[in-house]
Symmetry: C2
DNA sequence: CGCAAGGTTGACTGCAGTCAATAACCGTGG
DNA sequence: CCACGGTTATTGACTGCAGTCAACCTTGCG
C-alpha cells in the first residue's frame, strides 16, 4: 500500500537491519543463491550487479532482471527461490534470515510497509517488462533498457548521461527477449542515430535523452519525480487519449 | 514470505473482510477502476471475469492480466491504479477501502501475511508471463494460455478438461503479445493436432493434457499440488539440467 | 604477443505481422 | 421462429523484422 507512518516500539528500517549484519562478497559468475534452493535468506546488495535468471525446460536461459546496489532480494518467494542470482561484477552483500525478517515485520508496521514496497516495486518492474516484451520492437527494447539503466544512476534532468553497463550482450539479449545479434544491431542503429555512444563495451553515453525516450516508446520522461528510490514506474498519467470502447471491449481509435 | 500462523486479537481473513461488504456488479465493457485514477479502493471479485490493461502512449492496448472469481485487486499499487479493470462478463464484486485495509493489516499479522501472499502471487504470475513473452513461440503462448486457464478450473489430474474462456481473441492477443490473426492460426494448429477443440467460440476442451503441456514448453505438470487457490507457479524444481556456466556468465549446454 | 572470450557484421530464412476477403456467431426485430 | 446486420473470428497472400548460421573483429588477460 502507500504511506504508512506508524511506528511500533523502536523503528528499524530494512536497510539498517542488513547493515547490522556481516558483509559477504562474491565474484563474477558466482551465485548468491540458486533457483530451486529452499528460500531461507534475504539479501541486500551493497555494491555490484547481479543477473537474475531461470533455466527453462529446454535449456534456455531467461534473465528476469538485474539487481543493483541498494536492492533487496529474496522477500517475495514462496518456499523456494524462483531464480538464480549470479554476480556480474564483484558483489558485496549481506544476508538476513527470512524467518527472522518475517517475525520482525509482524511486529513493526514500518518494516512491514517497507517490505511491501519492495515487492510492489518488483511487481511494477515486472509489469513494465511484460509490456516491453509484448509490445516493443527490438530497437525500442534496447533503447528502453539503456534509458532505464541510465536513469537509475542520474535523474532525468541532464541532457547527457554517462554510465557503466557491466552485463554482457548476452545478458541483455536474454533479458530483452532478443538474440545477441539483434541487440548488437539495435545498438549500432542507436549509435548511428547519435542517440548513444560507447567507450569500450561497457561504458555508455546517452545523448539527447528526450529523443531516446521517444524512440523507446516511453511517455514524456521529464516529469522527474522525487529522487527517492528507483521509481520509473509512473506511466499511469491522466491519459487523455482519443479512444472509446464499446460494450464488448473492442477498442476504437476515434482519430 | 511464507507460512505465518500467528494471530492477533480476532483473526480476520481477507475473504471475510470483503464478504462483510455490499456487493456491486457491472456489465461487459464497464470498468471497476481506471488506469491513472487515485487508488483508493481494493476489490474482491465474487463472480465473473475482468481484463486488466493499460493503454500505451501510441494508443496500443496491453492486457497485463485477467481477474477471476476469488481474486483480489488493488493491493499493490502506489498511489494510482496502474491499469484499468474492465468487465469481460457480468461481474459481482465488493470494495474495501485501501486505507482501512492497510490499517487492519498493520494490526493483524495473519491479514498482513495474506496480503503479502496475494502480491507475491501476482509477482510470480508476472514473471511467468515475462518468460512466456520473451521466450515462447506463438503456438506455445496460446497453448500455455489455454492450459493455465483450464488448470485454474480443475486440477491437472483429469485427462480432459472442459471450460469457458469468455475473453475475446483480441483480449488473448493483447495479453500474449500477438495479433488476433496469429492467435487464430495457433488455435487452428492446436485443433488440427487434436490437442484442443471448441464448441462455439468460448467453450474449450483440452484433450491430452500432458502433450499439450509439453507442446506449451511447460515442465512436467502432473506434480499436482493441493487443490488450494491457483498455484501453477512451482516451476522451480530441483532442475538437474546438463549445463554449466563459466566465470563470465555464458551458458554452455554440456549435452 | 597470442589466444580465447566476447562482440559485430553480413547473408539468408522463417515466423509472425499486415492487409484483405470470407465465414461464423449473436442479438434484435419482424 | 427465422431473417438480418453488426461484431467477432478465421483463412489466405504477402511482407518484413528478428532469428540463424557463419565469418570476422576487438579486447583483455596470461
Amino acid at each position: 500500500m502507500s504511506f504508512s507512518v506508524a511506528t511500533t516500539g523502536r523503528m528499524e528500517s530494512l536497510a539498517e537491519l542488513f547493515t547490522s549484519r556481516a558483509t559477504d562478497s562474491c565474484h563474477p559468475g558466482q551465485a548468491i543463491f540458486w533457483e530451486g534452493d529452499p528460500a531461507t535468506g534475504t539479501f541486500r546488495i551493497h555494491e555490484g550487479v547481479l543477473r537474475l535468471y531461470r533455466i527453462l525446460p529446454d535449456g534456455c536461459r531467461a534473465v528476469t532482471g538485474f539487481a543493483f546496489a541498494g536492492d533487496v532480494l529474496g522477500i517475495a518467494f514462496h518456499d523456494r527461490y524462483s531464480y538464480t542470482a549470479e554476480a556480474v561484477t564483484n558483489v558485496r552483500y549481506s544476508r538476513f534470515s527470512r524467518e527472522r525478517l518475517r517475525k520482525l515485520a509482524s511486529e513493526s508496521p514500518a518494516l512491514q510497509h517497507e517490505l511491501f514496497e519492495v515487492v510492489a516495486d518488483e511487481l511494477s518492474a515486472a509489469q513494465e517488462q511484460m509490456i516491453l516484451l509484448g509490445q516493443k520492437s527490438s530497437e525500442e527494447r534496447v533503447a528502453s533498457f539503456l534509458l532505464k539503466n541510465g536513469l537509475r544512476v542520474y535523474g532525468s534532468d541532464k541532457k547527457t548521461i554517462d554510465f557503466e553497463l557491466p552485463m554482457t550482450r548476452l545478458d541483455m539479449a536474454d533479458y530483452l527477449g532478443l538474440t545477441i545479434e539483434t541487440v548488437c544491431r539495435s545498438l549500432t542503429k542507436l549509435k548511428q542515430a547519435k542517440l548513444v555512444s560507447f567507450r569500450g563495451r561497457h561504458r555508455v553515453t546517452l545523448h539527447k535523452l528526450a529523443e531516446l525516450a521517444r524512440f523507446a516508446g516511453e511517455e514524456e520522461l521529464e516529469i522527474l519525480r522525487d529522487p527517492d528510490h528507483h521509481d520509473p514506474v509512473v506511466r499511469s498519467e491522466p491519459m487523455p487519449l482519443p479512444f472509446q470502447n464499446d460494450k464488448s471491449g473492442r477498442m476504437h481509435l476515434v482519430i
